[in-house]
């Protein structure tokens, strides 16, 4: 028995089998249960070590050969995979409440397995191919065969597909730089090609216009899932490049470039979010800013930046899950997600509105919410590097907070005599309630996460040690 079979191939086969089930509840429970089980097992089952299960002695090998290459899940990567499958379980359990289970559960599980494969594949460069496969699978997830696709999905396909050639080529160029480290021109070329690849993949300014478009065109819950899993795994993949190539890791120009790119995303994301009048677009720009935070974490000294990068991941997952579910509930009942159509909904959909506001505030680093500890650490460490950068980070955060308060104002603008009622059904209420509780708990007791996150940086050979 080997780890890739258990945590990549078996889930992929299960995902294919799930396509035949059409019942929302069954899909949600089976999909959520399986991914939760995968998360628990990958966290607690030792890899490459024999252990006893009753009378049986079992050893799970870490690697599997495929066409002369290797899929390898290292023992140190277990926690990351647990977070990925755990967050996926979160989405799947909430899928019934959002009414998207028949699409998100089978496609989502298949996409997650491809993303896990992208972490496991050796040479790590081939991750770009698995990410592209996940992108191709995302298209039928985002669109219905009965409805013409919007421009957002076509742009998503174009931008994400263009990333793959750049990244594969950069890998080859980077190995050339390793062979002749003195060749400055080659180093610059390879860094530029790599930068272009990640700019497309992470939707870095100005390649992010598909995100707001998608939020207007399709189910926010589904887009939320993709906005969590694609950038998260891509960032880990990007950190892998820094880990692998010492000259890249020690390059001051790269740190500066990452810092500018991250700030550009936080500032433009924050300011654009503050000026939007569409709840979906606000979430889109906030998620862009969220990616900016992660890029900023990568720009810091790896010993400080990598733990912050990992601390950002659970908050992003929970925040986006609550936010996208809330938006989905509101979208099902409001004509559109424009401000004039959702005015006063706090009285009729209090939990969805509260979820929306809390998740939005968490992204904007509001104290005592899940996003706060990681952003505070980021801000503090960035200010030690550059006060100007810390100032611009503050501008971005202020933009995000303005968008949250505008949302709160619009949602609470009900007629004076309108009565309070609970428009959400019981399942939506439970899911949103649990999500909001999680956002508060993670904000007040961030040390809970340390149990999982403390050893995660050791998955990299050089970064974070």
């Amino acid at each position: 028995m080997n780890a890739p079979t258990i945590w990549i191939i078996a889930p992929a086969i299960i995902a294919i089998l799930l396509f035949v089930i059409r019942n929302q509840r069954a899909l949600s429970i089976i999909g959520g249960g399986i991914t939760a089980l995968l998360a628990i097992t990958v966290q607690f089952v030792p890899i490459d070590e024999a252990f006893r299960l009753g009378a049986l002695s079992i050893k799970v090998d870490s690697s599997m050969a495929v066409f002369g290459r290797v899929l390898q899940i290292k023992p140190t990567e277990g926690t990351l995979l647990a977070i990925l499958y755990g967050a996926t379980a979160l989405w799947f359990f909430a899928a019934e409440a959002s009414g998207t289970a028949p699409r998100i559960v089978p496609f989502g599980l298949l996409i997650t397995t491809f993303m896990v494969a992208s972490i496991a594949v050796e040479p790590f460069l081939y991750a770009a191919l698995f990410i592209e496969l996940a992108v191709l699978l995302s298209v039928p997830l985002l669109t219905s065969i009965n409805k013409p696709p919007g421009r957002g999905v076509v742009r998503f396909l174009i931008y994400q597909t263009l990333a793959m050639p750049f990244i594969l080529f950069s890998g080859w160029l980077l190995s050339g730089v390793e062979a002749s480290p003195g060749d400055i021109a080659l180093a610059a070329q390879s860094a530029s090609v790599l930068g272009m690849g990640f700019a497309f993949l992470l939707a870095i300014f100005p390649f992010y216009n598909w995100i707001p478009m998608l939020m207007e065109e399709t189910s926010p819950f589904i887009v939320g899932f993709l906005l969590w899993i694609l950038p998260t795994v891509t960032l880990i993949f990007g950190a892998g490049f820094l880990d692998r190539y010492s000259w890249l890791r020690s390059s001051p120009q790269l740190a500066t470039t990452l810092q500018y790119a991250g700030l550009l995303m936080v500032v433009t994301g924050g300011l654009w979010a503050a000026t939007q009048r569409h709840l979906g677009r606000i979430m889109a720009y906030s998620s862009i800013a969220e990616t900016g935070f992660s890029i900023l974490a990568l720009s810091l000294n790896p010993r400080l930046g990598i733990p912050i990068l990992f601390l950002l991941i659970p908050a992003r997952a929970l925040g986006l899950a609550v936010w996208s579910l809330s938006l989905n509930v509101i979208k099902d009942h409001a004509e559109t997600l424009r401000f004039n159509a959702v005015r006063g909904l706090l009285r009729t959909y209090p939990l969805a509105s509260a979820g929306l506001i809390l998740a939005s505030l968490s992204t904007g680093a509001f104290p005592l919410l899940a996003g706060f500890p990681a952003r505070l650490a980021l801000w503090e460490n960035l200010s030690r590097v550059s006060l100007t950068s810390a100032f611009w980070l503050g501008i971005g955060i202020i933009g995000l907070l303005i968008s949250s308060f505008r949302t709160m104002a619009v949602l609470s603008m009900a007629d004076e005599y309108e009565s309070w009622e609970l428009g959400e059904d019981w399942l939506q209420g439970i899911m949103l309630g649990l999500g909001m509780t999680g956002l508060v708990i993670l904000g007040i007791f961030p040390q809970f996460l340390q149990y999982f996150l403390a050893d995660l940086p050791t998955m990299f050979e050089h970064l974070g040690r």
Binding site: V66, F67, G68, R69, Y126, L129, F130, E132, L133, L136, L137, V139, P140, T143, S144, I145, N146, K147, P148, P149, R151, V153, V154, L157, I158, T161, L162, M164, P165, L168, F169, W172, L173, L186, Q189
Partner: protein
């Protein structure tokens, strides 16, 4: 092999320009299939026939998927005609000329970076990437966008084959090509769903 490679460059030049100018979807599929044949020859410069044929088989299957899907849809609708901007063939020919000029300028430098790739291989590859990008720039119609992406990937695969001979990569790239064609077909059916409903 060198002469054959230059013949392949001529083939991909004709097909990529043809893809840009053709309005009938049948011609698009014919040009795309011929383009994969040119790609086969250029890939064979560095790969054995067995490995290189994976690319042409995957490419022809992709073209067949797109062709079969398009043939099942109603005749060219107004949206399809309007989605290629600007419409003038002369303009697109002019734009293709500029791309060729850029490729001619860039080829020596890229060839110097890609050790032992060969001038013909580099030219053919860059031409396909450039024409594919131009294609994406002038249209938002699903079939043409898919063909544009496949053209860019073809160009990339030719050049990447000179430095990477992994069977896993060849297999995954073939799967990606087929996946792209399937996604294109899916979007093509979806974008025609309302037209079909209206005609019933």
């Amino acid at each position: 092999m060198s002469t054959l490679a230059w013949i392949a460059v001529i083939i991909v030049t004709v097909t990529s320009v043809g893809l840009l100018l053709a309005r009938d979807w049948r011609w698009l599929i014919i040009f795309l299939s011929a383009q994969y044949f040119g790609m086969l020859i250029l890939t064979m410069v560095h790969w054995p026939l067995g490995m290189a044929s994976v690319k042409v088989v995957a490419g022809w299957m992709s073209a067949a998927i797109l062709g079969m899907t398009r043939s099942g849809l109603p005749r060219e609708n107004k949206v399809e005609r309007q989605s290629v901007l600007p419409r003038g063939r002369l303009f697109r020919l002019f734009a293709a000329g500029i791309v060729m000029l850029v490729v001619a300028t860039a080829t020596p430098r890229v060839d110097a970076v890609m050790a032992d790739a060969g001038f013909a291989v580099t030219t053919g590859s860059l031409l396909l990437v450039g024409m594919g990008l131009l294609h994406l720039g002038v249209t938002d119609h699903v079939l043409r966008v898919t063909i544009g992406l496949m053209t860019i990937l073809s160009g990339f695969e030719i050049l990447y084959a000179t430095v990477e001979g992994s069977v896993l990569v060849a297999a995954l790239l073939a799967v990606i090509n087929l996946g792209l064609a399937l996604v294109g077909s899916y979007l093509l059916i979806a974008s025609n769903s309302q037209v079909e409903e209206a005609s019933v």
